[in-house]
Symmetry: C2
């Protein structure tokens, strides 16, 4: 007879940790560092704090040539965390503060737990967290994860005084790692983060004690991301029913205005008329068939305004240009930001840049830089939608780009929900709406590139006479 | 202040359902059908039952040209399920009977719940399950999922008499679907399943009432998959500690023999000597440092036998040939099964076939058929390791294959744990050990193809004289 059992989400992600980017000691140290840095950046940006982030990776063992165990420490000056949530934030899978409709890097409530878990199963170490929200107290926890039960084990808990009213978080633990193999990618990640987050100070101390400092290039920060209401187009039966269960609205007209973004008096009336439901109807008194009717009507009604992208934080032309210049010192570049678009009710903005010449080495294939919500994506390029657009959908010959033309393409997508294909957050699914935006943005910059290349070609031929 | 919350795994996979292959109505109906069929095939094979599976998709609404809501019904003659587990098996995410070291198609305890969930959020329908293990009773449940709490809601529960002692399971529910768009892939899936599961009867009735019958070509079945013990190489601190917590062994020597596969008296002694732990030591009395010592020693000890592949069920040369012939009627083919290999302690076997000519159309790119544990993988080809090996690592010119040479490649991987990159089970991660096996198998068949092609080329030149 078959044995049935349930599995906790921590046990599930422990057994399937490669799905989260923790495949081997080289990939794992990269994922560990990025998950910690992204948490620190979110914690600063959400509160309008200019980020100062210190990352140290030091060898814990002494094998030659390569140690196997490292200690990772990441410190930030971000919001810090209240004492009571710290154990769960670091020891319970599917727990966090980013389950909202808001542009953040974090989204799954899983990242730091995967890093802590990997460290624990490879070194049996404990993780140490120090945090304060800037009050007179700072909280220190020494934790382990009960992976089977998905709950933190508080090994030690101390309260310190915080006279300096410091705010921020320090995370430290040991982990098995192949640092030597991962090093190039880690430095690349820091360098590219510095490009798209130019207002952050990043300091990295590697196992040899070498300092890598990326000083902030500006003190201008995007405004903190705000939470927004869902758009009608993202609504299915489950979401709708949860809204009804939680609503304080007494009429459907008020319900539509209160629970959805950009639905005002007129649109609410017209939509309810379209769906055959009285604007005075009490949402809690809707019959099952009426709910089905409404959810179907939402899909078919074309009078809703497009999703509000005011809550999104694109890089902007200037920042993208500065970044490309810094990275590649190109002879020519062109950048373009598409108007906001949406998929399944989630707004997103695509920004693309193309660069020619300068430091771009002629390699096989087009150099592709991918970013999502200001995170550099450095793995699984061939599975990413931007790769597909760049290498399979763009007709580069049409834009005077030949196989040996040295060009680089930059793609940044910001959204309330990046359509990552896996919980490892390394590549983006080919959602047709996103594909459409990336392709059209790329054609726009390619047009400018074509003009430049023909002019250049023309001038070179003139020279030869 | 930030709001922290925990999320149930069902709510997590509801919000992130594209990660599981439920992106849109066309992909979702495909995923629904495959998840149900794979459950039925597992339920038959685990018990040595020749599978008879009936799948019906019928339109529930009448829009023209394309209905939006369909009813899906899958019936099998498999093991059936005991009454008490049915609500959780269909209504609780991360619940199932395949969390074992055994070759099955299912692995996550998630598939059918995703299908049920998608149906529920798009149609507010209830799912109906009928099942019996061949006893005098059969059990009928009408269920919904409480997605926030991750538990089933039993709407109705009836017990019927089962005079015929039927055993099997019927699953039925409504779901939003774009059947027209998904149809070609669904039929492809059935056709390719029939190739690698030639002992199954598959009957599919589509929304137009058309019958597609794939009759079994043989009554020879692979022996039912057996559960095996873990291999030392897959052991980390967590796994080791769980073994200690559950062990009834009183000595470390007995512990090593009882908890790991292929560890006998001699290997147990030699390993414990290597790791500096007494064979008489009581496992429950191990100190923390001793556990760390043992887990590290396991990594470094090279005296373990390779993982036992006796529990694996490869297709075999004959079946692979028959399948390729049936699908492509090629002018030439060559197949090859590699010896068992392993990654992270999990044994796996790679089988590859290459075919030339016949019905193979000259298209751009090599026609690639991928299978894992006898499941056809039809999506996300470009992200799969076999695609990478076929199109980026193989030097086909060296084997006389030119861009216009009509060839097709088949890859089947069977393992206790297929290294899927996502919970959608559509593509396989590029684990170096797996890549190595696929590459070498492909080179082997390519060698035979090269001989054939040069002979053919030679004969054609002779003719011209
Ligand atoms: N450095 C930090 N400063 C402040 N809060 C933090 C920090 N690191 C983690 N947190 C809190 O802990 C929570 C859990 O972090 P975790 O990385 O597991 O999930 P996430 O960032 O919400 O999503 P994701 O899985 O996509 O990373 C976060 O939501 C955040 O509230
Ligand atoms: N047709 C069936 N006959 C017998 N048992 C079934 C059938 N369908 C589902 N089950 C049982 O329900 C459990 C849950 O199925 P589900 O598809 O969610 O998970 P799984 O098959 O174990 O893994 P995966 O998520 O990879 O499909 C299975 O493990 C199996 O025990
Ligand atoms: Mg995070
Ligand atoms: Mg299944």
């Amino acid at each position: 007879a078959e044995e049935f059992k349930e599995m906790s989400p921590s046990d599930f992600f422990y057994r399937n940790r490669d799905i989260a980017g923790f495949t081997n000691p080289s990939r794992a140290i990269y994922s560990t560092i990025r998950e910690l840095i992204e948490n620190s950046l979110d914690a600063c940006e959400i509160n309008g704090i200019l980020p100062d982030i210190y990352i140290r990776v030091s060898a814990e063992t002494e094998e030659t040539p390569d140690p196997t165990i490292y200690r990772v420490r990441v410190e930030d000056n971000g919001s810090g965390m209240p004492s009571e949530v710290i154990p769960s934030a670091f020891g319970q899978v599917l727990f966090g503060s980013k389950y909202k409709l808001r542009q953040t890097r974090g989204t799954f409530g899983l990242g730091v737990k995967m890093a802590v878990l990997y460290g624990q199963i490879t070194t049996h170490g404990q993780s140490r967290i120090l945090s304060s929200t800037g009050t007179s107290k700072m909280y220190e926890y020494t934790l382990m994860m009960d992976i089977q039960k998905n709950r933190p084990i508080v090994v030690k808990h101390k309260v310190h005084s915080n006279k300096a009213k410091w705010h921020g978080t320090v995370v430290e633990f040991t982990t098995e790692a192949d640092y030597t193999r991962a090093m190039a990618k880690i430095l690349d990640y820091l360098k590219q983060t510095a490009i798209v987050v130019p207002y952050a100070n990043l300091t990295f101390v590697d196992p040899r004690g070498r300092f890598y400092k990326f000083d902030r290039a500006t003190t201008l920060m995007p405004k903190p991301p705000t939470e927004t209401l869902p758009h009608p187009h993202g609504t299915d039966m489950e979401t709708f029913k949860r809204m009804i269960d939680s609503t304080s609205s007494r009429t459907m007209k008020d319900f539509m205005k209160r629970h959805f973004q950009r639905v005002g008096e007129a649109i609410a009336r017209r939509f309810l008329e379209f769906s055959g439901i009285s604007p005075k109807k009490n949402p809690r008194k809707l019959a099952q068939e009426e709910i089905v009717k409404l959810v179907n009507a939402i899909k078919n009604y074309d009078g809703f305004l497009s999703p509000d992208a005011g809550c999104l934080s694109p890089l902007g032309d200037e920042l993208l240009r500065t970044g490309i210049k810094k990275e590649l010192a190109p002879e020519f570049m062109s950048v373009y930001q598409r108007k906001p678009a949406a998929y399944s009710g989630f707004p997103f903005i695509v920004e693309v840049g193309v660069a020619y010449g300068g430091d771009i080495l002629k390699t096989d294939g087009i150099l592709l830089y991918r970013f999502a919500n200001r995170i550099p994506l450095l793995f699984d390029e061939a599975s990413d939608i931007s790769y597909k657009v760049t290498n399979e959908m763009m007709n580069w010959r049409h834009y005077k780009v030949l196989p040996d033309t040295p060009i680089a393409v930059f793609v940044h997508i910001c959204s309330l929900k990046i359509p990552y294909k896996t919980v490892g957050k390394e590549f983006i699914a080919d959602r047709p709406e996103v594909e459409h935006e990336v392709l059209n943005a790329m054609r726009e910059v390619a047009r400018h590139l074509a003009l430049f290349l023909s002019k250049k070609h023309h001038m070179e031929r003139e020279k030869k006479r």
